[in-house]
């Protein structure tokens, strides 16, 4: 009696474990790479925004940072919902290794340099996100994720335009 209960328990655990392992591998490489990239990009934007809110007194930087925090929180929620629905691994919430040095650089700089660096980084990060998102919208093979990418596209495009305007105004190039 005891033995079969233990066996049943062990089987249940094995099934759960292999389900988790399978979830890691469901979805094409392309979809998994996009989800990772988008998740890390949102995390980066939120952390950059929080840094800006703490380290900058410029009202335009503050306003932009608030918007980034709002928009990228919404975007990352939408992504999480889509991955859950599609049975994929949830998107990561960490900053990727490619962008971590940018964040570190921003955090080690004070005003007036801070604002200039923030705008430059925001232009670059949004360009990168735009490229990745555009490619997935065009070629992606998960309908749920593609839908989220498609709705993110105009938002990222608008962010990029704003950041470019602000960078030009702040005298950057």
């Amino acid at each position: 009696m005891m033995r079969s209960a233990i066996l049943a328990g062990a089987t249940a655990i094995a099934v759960l474990a292999s389900a988790a392992a399978l979830a890691q591998q469901t979805g094409s490489r392309q979809t998994r790479e996009y989800v990772q990239s988008a998740g890390q990009s949102d995390a980066f934007e939120k952390l950059e925004a929080e840094t800006a809110l703490t380290q900058s007194h410029d009202p335009q930087v503050q306003a932009f940072a608030h918007k980034m925090l709002q928009d990228h929180s919404r975007l990352s929620n939408a992504l999480q919902q889509a991955t859950a629905k599609a049975g994929l691994m949830p998107a990561p919430m960490d900053v990727g290794a490619d962008q971590a040095p940018l964040l570190a650089a921003l955090q080690s700089v004070k005003e007036p340099d801070f604002d200039r660096v923030y705008w430059k980084q925001q232009v670059l990060a949004h360009r990168s996100a735009l490229t990745t998102t555009q490619q997935y919208v065009t070629n992606g093979d998960s309908p749920a994720v593609r839908q989220v990418a498609a709705s993110a596209l105009p938002i990222i495009t608008a962010h990029l335009a704003m950041a470019e305007r602000m960078m030009a105004k702040s005298g950057g190039s």
């Binding site: 591998q25 490489r29 790479e33 990239s37 490619d98 940018l102 990745t132 190039s173």
Partner: protein, 328 residues
């Protein structure tokens, strides 16, 4: 200086340089003095963002936007490698090309190896070597074969009449964010190109290398601080950094020096033919403190330094050009 102005100047300089070279092949180099002075390293070369672009492996430098600068119009030699004979793998583009141009302008005869698909780029390099008044030996072929590597060295030795500089520079780099997607075939390809080939080439070359000869391997900042999506490539660069040191110890008593070059992010066809994610290409070099990727021309002088006789006490060392990211 704005991006457009810089490009206009560079293309004007290229035209002038080409015109000068055509008018009098080697005398343009003899007469021109080294530039000296200093430029702002932040704005000296193109900064990101770059246009979205990709080419099938291995990719051509001549089709990149903007074209990489390998020193075609800027490198001025002064006889530092007069009489030397060099073999460079991956000599069609990237650092290998920059080294080939610089070596020729310093007075060396140069054999370059490259993949057959890279012929258009290689032809430009051969032309530049000859305009510098030196012998050029193009030897296309895939170095993933031991037999070809042995042939490559044989052909280089007979074309140049000897050999005293070996640059193992050709590399395979593919960005694969998850190990679960890394095929054995891709892993093997990376190992064969980046580690087996240098082993086979150096082994075939050593019997020909007299005391005073130099071996140079291209490693990378990836050897010290690897990116998560370059698991296969980065470990080969760490191994390269290591083989340079053990080989230097082994060959010191033969008077053969062995050193390495560790670049940071450099604008080469590797990056746009699968070596980096598209989002990274667009912002390539952004994380470097200098705010841009390096150009191959900015490493040419290092290869010259490690090959020349003046560098006679440097062996078992790695020289870097990393843009400020901290390694080596």
């Amino acid at each position: 200086m704005t991006e457009t102005t810089r490009r206009q100047i560079m293309s004007a300089a290229a035209t002038l340089g080409a015109a000068a070279a055509m008018a009098s092949p080697s005398s343009a180099q003899d007469v021109a003095a080294a530039r000296g002075g200093k430029q702002d390293p932040r704005t000296k070369y193109p900064k990101p963002p770059f246009t979205v672009q990709s080419q099938p492996w291995p990719g051509l430098a001549s089709r990149m936007e903007p074209r990489p600068d390998h020193g075609e119009t800027s490198y001025v030699g002064s006889g530092r490698l007069r009489g030397r004979k060099a073999l460079i793998t991956g000599g069609d583009s990237g650092m290998g090309r920059a080294a080939a141009i610089a070596f020729a302008r310093e007075g060396a005869d140069v054999a370059i190896n490259y993949l057959p698909e890279e012929e258009p780029d290689a032809r430009e390099v051969v032309d530049l070597i000859r305009r510098a008044g030196q012998k050029a030996a193009p030897i296309p072929g895939d170095i993933r074969s031991e037999a070809f590597c042995q042939q490559l060295v044989q052909q280089a030795v007979s074309a140049l009449g000897g050999l005293d500089i070996v640059v193992c520079n050709a590399g395979r780099q593919q960005s694969v964010p998850s190990i679960l997607d890394l095929t054995t075939e891709e892993f093997d390809r990376t190992m064969k190109t980046n580690l087996y080939a240098p082993f086979w080439i150096i082994k075939a070359a050593v019997p020909h290398l007299e005391p005073g000869s130099a071996i140079i391997g291209t490693t990378s900042e990836q050897a010290y601080d690897p990116s998560p999506d370059l698991y296969a490539y980065a470990q080969t660069k760490a191994a390269t950094m290591n083989y340079i040191k053990s080989l230097a110890k082994q060959l010191g008593s033969k008077g053969i020096r062995v050193n390495g070059v560790a670049p940071g992010p450099i604008w080469t066809p590797l990056q746009i033919s699968g070596g980096a994610q598209p989002g990274k290409v667009v912002t390539f070099g952004a994380t470097a403190p200098l705010g841009r990727p390096g150009q191959p021309a900015e490493l040419a002088g290092i290869y010259v330094r490690l090959a020349e006789d003046d560098g006679s006490y440097t062996t078992g060392n790695i020289y870097g050009a990393g843009g400020g990211q901290g390694q080596p």
